[in-house]
């Protein structure tokens, strides 16, 4: 993973010093609250319903064991002993004291972490595939490009005060998308052209929130070396032309839609003519330098299916289930990718305690070269585990509650913190997730359902990605009471789509039965190989609607 040099260290330390000064001026009254607000947001600090919320960057989801232990220590010292993993592969503290944040930042800097641009109307953390570098089907490792983008976007002087937040994602798998990249402001897809040269397919204007839109292609091939000048050009067009009169219409997706993607592309190309082939052009030396941080670890030469592993799988149904669901193919023989699921019933989705963080750090050291990755659906990946160690790892993960074999299934939900914590929420989301986990606790039933994304957001800001869940649940306010609107048919993959609303919303207590009815319609209609999304796309909304809203006799 990337290691800071003197320049990187100096920049994050100077940002911490700057933020300490801003905090001091806020407390001595020379910086007004409304002047401090955008500055603290640009450093990941919200003031929430109950306390400040402090979001720390995990660039493209990569964390070392050392960093995990530092997060554990900080959560104990400055918070209530747990943190929350976010849908942007970041991590949040929910209860720090504003006055302590500069000290927390110094601690974070000491392990090469920061909170720069984790919030605010600026360029946010670039996300990518949690299986980057180890997936069997990727074109190449996307992380060096994410790091190059991280550096370019960090404290970019021209784009610190954009109309609205700005999110970039990089995908390198031709046939899958684990990053929900098509709902980012810019989705970059690593591709090769007919001459076998590396470049990017560029899509813009995806997003969730009040106006969910799937990103549109504006360039089918951008040569690798022009990455930064092209990004500069997109951002400049957006900075100058994006709406600033209404924050709900300020994202780039609204501009792209208003202009049409073709016209937007024209403006970008015209701007780019002025910016390309200048000093921002990436050098091979720089690409090689950054790639040098993402080389393969010291893999052992192993047989792909060691007998110790195959025997255990035959002996233990639970182990075999877990392998089937939570363990993925690795590009190296004898290795596997393990996803630890943070979806234990009764624990808010994505929350992890200081003790668990330390144990995960130990597991990373023991099984996976001391590194983990955070996923956008609140799980943790150990990317390089030897298959002959999986059984031992499984036993450890089980005692932590991290081995519920439900990855990608109904109960592996994305769920925002909701009205329990968030000042924006219309409704609570955690209790809905918990009620569904209780209702659907039969694993055999869940397996029989197959892959099914269920996503829950407590308001239309859509932090829980409800638009792109196969089943989406949105908390709404109905005359002061909390209600839930259901949408069906969303998808976050290569064939990303926005879900359609089923109909009038429901009270919280009705939700488990509503979801059960929806699932029953699927079970009755599916063909042998169909996943929920396939059946929905074939039979449409009507049968689901009829069942859910049928009058009781």
């Amino acid at each position: 993973m990337y290691k800071y040099d003197g320049y990187d260290k100096q920049i994050v330390q100077e940002r911490t010093k700057q933020f300490r000064g801003q905090t001091d001026r806020y407390f001595d009254g020379t910086l007004a609250a409304d002047e401090f607000l955008p500055l603290r947001l640009q450093n990941g600090l919200y003031v929430q319903r109950l306390a400040p919320m402090f979001r720390v960057a995990i660039p493209y989801g990569m964390l070392s064991a050392l960093q995990l232990r530092k997060l554990a220590e900080l959560s104990r010292e400055y918070d209530k002993g747990y943190v929350h993993l976010t849908t942007r592969q970041n991590v949040q503290f929910n209860w720090p004291d504003l006055r302590d944040v500069p000290d927390m930042l110094e601690e974070l800097n000491s392990v090469e972490m920061h909170s720069i641009q984790t919030s605010g109307n600026c360029i946010r953390n670039t996300t990518t595939d949690q299986f980057a570098g180890v997936a069997t089907n990727e074109l190449m490792d996307p992380r060096p490009y994410c790091e190059i983008i991280r550096q370019w976007s960090t404290l970019h002087p021209e784009f610190a005060f954009l109309p609205r937040k700005f999110k970039i994602s990089v995908n390198a798998c031709p046939d899958t998308d684990r990053t929900a990249s098509l709902v980012n402001d810019i989705a970059l897809e690593l591709v090769k052209n007919e001459k076998d040269e590396i470049g990017f397919r560029v899509l813009v204007g995806g997003g969730l929130g009040r106006t969910p839109i799937i990103a549109s292609e504006i360039r089918s091939f951008l040569p690798e070396k022009h990455l930064l000048s092209y990004l500069d050009s997109i951002l400049r067009v957006y900075n100058m032309h994006g709406r600033r009169d209404n924050k709900f219409k300020a994202r780039i997706k609204i501009l792209v839609k208003a202009l049409t993607p073709a016209k937007f592309a024209e403006l970008v190309e015209a701007e780019w003519l002025n910016n390309k082939d200048k000093a921002s052009t990436l050098t091979q030396a720089e690409v090689s330098r950054v790639k040098g941080f993402f080389t393969e670890p010291a893999y052992a030469q192993l047989e792909n299916e060691p007998s110790a592993y195959t025997e255990k799988k035959a002996e233990h149904k639970g182990f075999a289930n877990w392998i089937n669901r939570n363990v993925n193919e690795h590009k190296k023989p004898g290795y596997a990718i393990v996803t630890l699921t943070l979806k234990k019933t009764g624990v808010p989705t994505g929350d992890i305690s200081d003790k668990q963080l330390n144990i995960v750090a130990d597991m990373a050291d023991k099984y996976s070269f001391g590194e983990v990755r955070i996923t956008h659906d609140h799980n943790i990946v150990l990317a390089d585990v030897q298959k002959d160690q999986l059984f031992e790892l499984w036993n450890e993960a089980k005692t932590l509650g991290f081995a519920t074999p439900n990855l990608g299934m109904l109960t592996d939900m994305i769920c925002c913190p909701g009205g329990d914590y968030c000042g924006l929420a219309n409704a609570k989301s955690i209790p809905v997730a918990e009620a569904l986990q209780i209702k659907f606790d039969d694993l055999d039933f869940i397996y029989d359902l197959g892959e099914l994304d269920l996503n829950i957001s407590g308001c239309m800001n859509a932090c829980g990605h409800h638009h792109i869940g196969n089943i989406g649940i949105l908390g709404v306010d109905k005359r002061g009471a909390e209600f839930y609107q259901v949408s069906l048919g969303g998808s976050s993959g290569r064939d990303a789509s926005i879900g359609k609303i089923l109909g009038p919303s429901f009270a919280r207590a009705e939700m488990p039965d509503v979801i059960e009815k929806i699932i029953n319609v699927y079970l009755e209609n599916r063909t042998n190989e169909e996943l929920f999304i396939d059946t929905f796309r074939r039979i449409g909304m009507a049968p689901f609607k009829e069942r859910v809203y049928a009058k009781a006799n």
Binding site: Y7, E14, T30, S153, L155, F159, F161, R244
Partner: protein, 161 residues
């Protein structure tokens, strides 16, 4: 007398800014004239050396291209400091149109924007009058280096590290 930061010096601000919809005869003294007035009265730059032109945040600096050889002061207004359009207008003036004269940030100009403004080519800063300009001045030096190119640094860090 209000003050402004010129390069890194604090000096008196003797400039009077005329309203965006100003019309009629120009007053005496050093004046910042709105873009619209210039577009309607393009000859003013020939007769009066004490004129600068100011742009509002919805006015792209490309509009000044025909006048640049006669201009020694351009000001860009930030009606709210969170309105970041002026940063792009400044870079277009400096990097594309090769404007060499003074470029001043006016309006809601605060301590914590100065470093970014400087990077985008501003070299004078009319800090909001209710703020302590001596303290704000320190904001110009918040960072000693940067990753990306901008007007103040034509080479990205990756070509220098």
């Amino acid at each position: 007398m209000p003050k402004l930061i010129n390069k890194s010096e604090i000096i008196e601000n003797t400039w009077q800014t005329l309203d965006k919809d100003f019309s009629g005869k120009l007053p005496d003294g050093s004046i910042l004239v709105p873009l619209n007035y210039l577009l309607e009265n393009p000859l003013i730059l020939d007769s009066n050396p004490n004129i600068g032109i100011w742009l509002d945040s919805d006015q792209n600096s490309e509009a000044l291209e025909p006048y640049l050889n006669k201009l020694s002061l351009i000001a860009i207004n930030f009606p709210k400091f969170v309105d970041g359009r002026g940063y792009s207008y400044a870079r277009i003036l400096r990097d594309r149109l090769d404007y060499q004269g003074e470029l001043r940030a006016i309006g809601d100009i605060l301590h914590d924007q100065l470093f970014y403004l400087k990077r985008c080519g501003f070299d004078s800063f009319a800090v909001r009058e209710d703020k302590n300009i001596e303290v704000a001045l320190q904001g110009l030096e918040d960072f000693s280096d940067s990753y990306q190119i901008a007007t103040d640094q034509p080479e990205p860090l990756f070509r220098r590290r």
